[in-house]
């Protein structure tokens, strides 16, 4: 659905169902250079499972207008402003990659608004090397290609997709190309500058599910495990032979883990 926040037109995917702010709200936050399309295989599924699903395109990403936000803290504040504008009192936050940083920042700053967390392929800190940071500005297409290749695990590189006929690599690159040209640089800068992760994770009291990828080259497994260990009430699921783009690479396993976790609330 289309919405206006802070005077900017934004896109909110709702999984093909009408959004009910009084329902069981599930907010899905995309990663660096991504957009609502990262959640294709979760948004419709959980909306049809009875949740009120909200998958926002951050400003300058996907179908949202505006200038990309430049800090994780700003992204967290933007989400709360979004929820306020939609009259949503509380929500479960699902984050992927950079979305995990926003999720834990939300959970620590707004504990009465966030009921549960699902953190997928993340860590408490996601530093970005200088080469990739520069590339995201000077050679965007090359950065997209590199990130897409790195972000997918070995089976995804053999193009065996759960959506018949679809290409992980092809779709992954096109998805990122849909965003504003400065979106990836802004996201990388935000990740690089975020230093509150450890403190935020340690303060989280909400029940949390961490779903990590065994062959994650972007946020290596050991850092994801450290995040899980730092969170007080955390269930950990590790998916074998999968890469960073877990939601699209292994949707059945991700969705099953989420259903169990959400069903146990």
């Amino acid at each position: 659905m289309k919405h206006v926040l802070h005077g900017t037109k934004i896109h909110l995917a709702t999984g093909g169902r009408d959004f009910d702010p009084a329902g069981d709200v599930l907010v899905m936050l995309h990663g660096s250079g991504q957009n609502h399309l990262s959640w294709i295989l979760q948004s419709r599924h959980f909306a049809h499972q009875g949740h009120s699903v909200l998958v926002p395109d951050f400003p300058g990403h996907g179908l949202s207008e505006g200038t990309p936000l430049e800090t994780i803290e700003d992204m967290a504040a933007w989400i709360i402003d979004l929820l306020d504008s939609l009259s949503v009192k509380t929500a479960c936050i699902v984050g992927h990659s950079q979305g995990c940083l926003v999720s834990i920042e939300l959970a620590t700053r707004y504990p009465d608004r966030i009921t549960h967390l699902v953190l997928i392929a993340g860590a408490m800190a996601i530093p970005v090397n200088e080469v990739l940071l520069d590339m995201s500005e000077q050679a965007l297409e090359k950065a997209i290609a590199m990130l897409t290749s790195f972000g997918h695990g070995p089976e995804a590189h053999k193009y065996d997709h759960s959506l018949p006929g679809h290409s992980f690599i092809g779709f992954g690159e096109r998805l990122m190309a849909v965003n504003n040209r400065n979106a990836l640089k802004a996201d990388f800068t935000a990740c690089n500058n975020y230093s509150n992760g450890r403190a935020a994770a340690a303060s989280i009291s909400q029940p949390t599910l961490c779903i990590l990828a065994h062959k994650d080259r972007n946020t290596p497994l050991k850092f994801g495990k450290m995040m899980a260990e730092a969170i007080n009430d955390c269930t950990l699921e590790i998916i074998k032979n999968a890469g960073h783009m877990l939601p699209v690479e292994r949707p059945l396993e991700v969705n099953a883990a989420m259903r169990t976790f959400l069903g146990n609330r």
């Binding site: 896109h11 995917a13 093909g16 169902r17 957009n35 399309l37 294709i40 295989l41 948004s43 419709r44 599924h45 049809h48 996907g62 179908l63 290609a145 590199m146 897409t148 290749s149 089976e155 590189h157 053999k158 193009y159 065996d160 997709h161 759960s162 959506l163 018949p164 006929g165 679809h166 290409s167 690599i169 092809g170 779709f171 690159e173 096109r174 998805l175 190309a177 849909v178 949707p251 059945l252 969705n255």
Partner: protein, 432 residues
Amino acid sequence: MSGDYKFDTLSLHAGHVPDETHGSRAVPIHQTTSYVFKDSDHAAALYNMEIGGHLYSRISNPTVAVLEQRVAALDGAVAATATASGMAALSTTLLTICSQGDHIVSSSRMYGANINLMENTLPRFGITTSFVDPCDPDAIKAAIQDNTKLIFGEVIGNPGLDIMDVEKVAKIADEAGIPLILDCTFNTPWLLKPIDLGANIIIHSLTKWMGGHGIAIGGIAVDAGNFDWGRNDKFPTIAGPHYSMNGINFYEEFGPAAFTARFRAEGMYNLGPSLSPTNAFHILQGLETLPLRMQRHMENTAKMLEFLGNHEGVAWVRHPNLPDHPGHELAKKMLPRGAGSIIVFGLKGGRDAGRAFIESVDLASHLANVGDAKTLVIHPASTTHSHISAEAMIEGGLSDDMIRLSVGLEDIDDIIADFKQGLKAASRATKA
């Protein structure tokens, strides 16, 4: 398009990972119409497009999916949907995008069935076409009207071998806010990936070089994912609400794969141009050696061009690799590995010589196909294009004496020897 694996590796591996239960290395043939649902929720999830998977083989099939994923990988696309034939891929593509009152700008020099579809079949449903010279970008641009929804052509024209300037035409399409759809049967992704030049949808007849062995008919519509269907209001079938699934908007929910999502949800569902899993398996076997076969096709074509060009019984030879072809310079730049393995030539003695030649060759096969591993010959004026009007034939670059040769993978010395005796027979027929 990147990824860690190169073309030759993707030809062998893309689309398939052996399943853990059986470990079959070869792609299994899932010769099944239907699939058992885990439970009611699982069934509903498939019908609602909530999750990936298969619910009925008219819509998708695991063996066919491997083929689709492999071709998508080879073309550098976001997705692909296989069909029963190349014509099924084309007609379903056009019907996915166009509705009554829409208009197409198309090349005038193409495969006869492509022309017939747009000239004679689609007008019955209110979709009209303007046919223009594919080598005249200005004419293509001038033909675009307010209700034009796409530009269509062949990269290497059949059978006249015209070369379309893909980059120029892609730019024209983009400026007009419409997609460029290309029949890439004659080039395959090994000779050219038109997506890299701005093409938006690729059609292949998998029957030809992609399958490569003349044993299975199939087609595929390949989605580059690089066309913004929501950029204007021309594409309500893709960027507007669908008639089912609570008004799903494929553009919003599938983004770069919106065309494929609509193609499958409506085209495969309602029109049913399904490729059989057995045919998909056969085509996959051919695809595994596509790089090797195309290389050999190009080597043999070069030698045949030299032979035919120097034979006294041959009146003319046309191929973009020859310097006198009008598209030669463009072909050199756009198709550096070669401009395909189709040669057209005419014999001294015209139609009678042509007939004598075709009926005398022994190793080359006289039949209606191209892109087989075996060498093939045919006389288009009396066969593949016999249903086209005389004016359309001339416009299509055909002539009465033209023989279309699809150079195969045999030892070239054997083919040349076969042609020598065929040309001798042609000469005798002319003198008689």
